[in-house]
Symmetry: C2
Subunit: 222 residues, 2 copies
């Protein structure tokens, strides 16, 4: 009897989460919002990728951002400088965002105005992988200084990702052990249809066009 | 009655974990092992720090290493090249090591021979902070490419750490936004007595002496 009771509770929680994800998808559909869940290690360049993308697209698209961090509003403050709608979620000790947090955030945003919504997840290659936020696409960042073996070491997050973006390619020459081909090869081994993109967001030779082209042309999943 | 039963179970689990940590501490004490729990983001340089430390100390101390990763034996293979005892733990989906895993690993090692044990935790700035592995010291790595704000964004792991080591200082000049003083300042704000060390482990001007000096002279905590 005890066992049955416990199972019922678990089912209810799980169903609730699924329902919240469904609600989020409906909101995105009704408001013609395409949503990208940006994941990666701490310091892999998630906020910088969003900043540079806003710079490129702000005259064509209305972009909004949900920032996820354990603490502080550092990233949200950076994004606000670009004049876009941004909302910071502080998770406290939690190592990922979840659908309930996103649902609450959406209730505070001017949804009808948004074309593209970026959700910057907590910097982590483990926890975010098992949490559906209702996003259209999951983007995993792999920065050059992290080395080329992250897809093999953190296979779950790569298996769930649609796109892998190599960041900090502007400092590639200082990492002789790094190989873009090796990293992309590992990623494709884990997820054969993963899209691979390279960006360089600082220095003199900015490379972001492949990423922006993909973003502008990709269709919502629903 | 149900409630009481549930509480009993939780107490038993918690006590068991504490007991395992106590067992580990006894093992370290009996075998005169000093143990360092090395934590940091994926790609922050944890394995490289251990490699370079072995190079410096291998003629003076017997070093052993426990490697924690979700998957693969990549890091353990790197360490094995240095001729030291190394054991790989694969956590599957788990974002940290725990005392039970360490206790099992220790049962497979030649403990009486070990002076220094490094435990390389899963690359993560959240989950490892709440898991006591019986270590003497917790070391948190902060690599230059991650930026100077990680202590503020991930305060819990810094609060639990004894030492913060800035890694990849050899490429400092390519990160004009990075300031060692700012990072150390944030770390000290969170944990006033945290020890601060800078290392550069690649390139022409290797800097590791401060770290090695501290390692050689620090006393076991018990």
């Amino acid at each position: 009897m005890n066992k049955t009771k416990e199972i019922t509770v678990l089912e209810r929680v799980s169903k609730k989460n699924e329902e919240i994800v469904k609600e989020i998808r409906t909101i995105f559909g009704e408001n013609s919002i395409i949503c990208f869940n940006i994941m990666g290690s701490p310091g892999s360049g998630k906020t910088t990728l969003i900043e540079k993308t806003i710079e490129k697209l702000k005259d064509k698209k209305t972009i909004a951002v949900i920032e996820g961090d354990l603490a502080t509003t550092i990233d949200a403050e950076r994004i606000r400088e670009y004049g876009v709608d941004v909302l910071q979620i502080n998770t406290g000790g939690m190592c990922h965002l979840d659908a309930q947090l996103i649902r609450n955030a959406l209730s505070k945003m001017d949804l009808s105005a948004i074309d593209i919504l970026f959700i910057e997840n907590v910097g982590n290659l483990v926890c975010p992988s098992s949490h559906d936020l209702g996003e259209d696409y999951r983007v995993i960042l792999a920065s050059v200084p992290e080395g080329p073996h992250k897809p093999k070491k953190y296979p779950v997050i790569y298996k769930e990702a649609d796109v892998v973006v190599i960041t900090k390619a502007d400092i590639l020459e200082h990492f002789p052990d790094f190989s873009i081909e090796v990293l992309f090869g590992h990623a494709i081994e884990i997820k054969p249809d993963i899209k691979t993109i390279k960006v360089a967001l600082k220095g003199e030779d900015i490379q972001i066009d492949d990423w922006v082209y993909w973003l502008e042309n990709v269709e919502p999943k629903k």
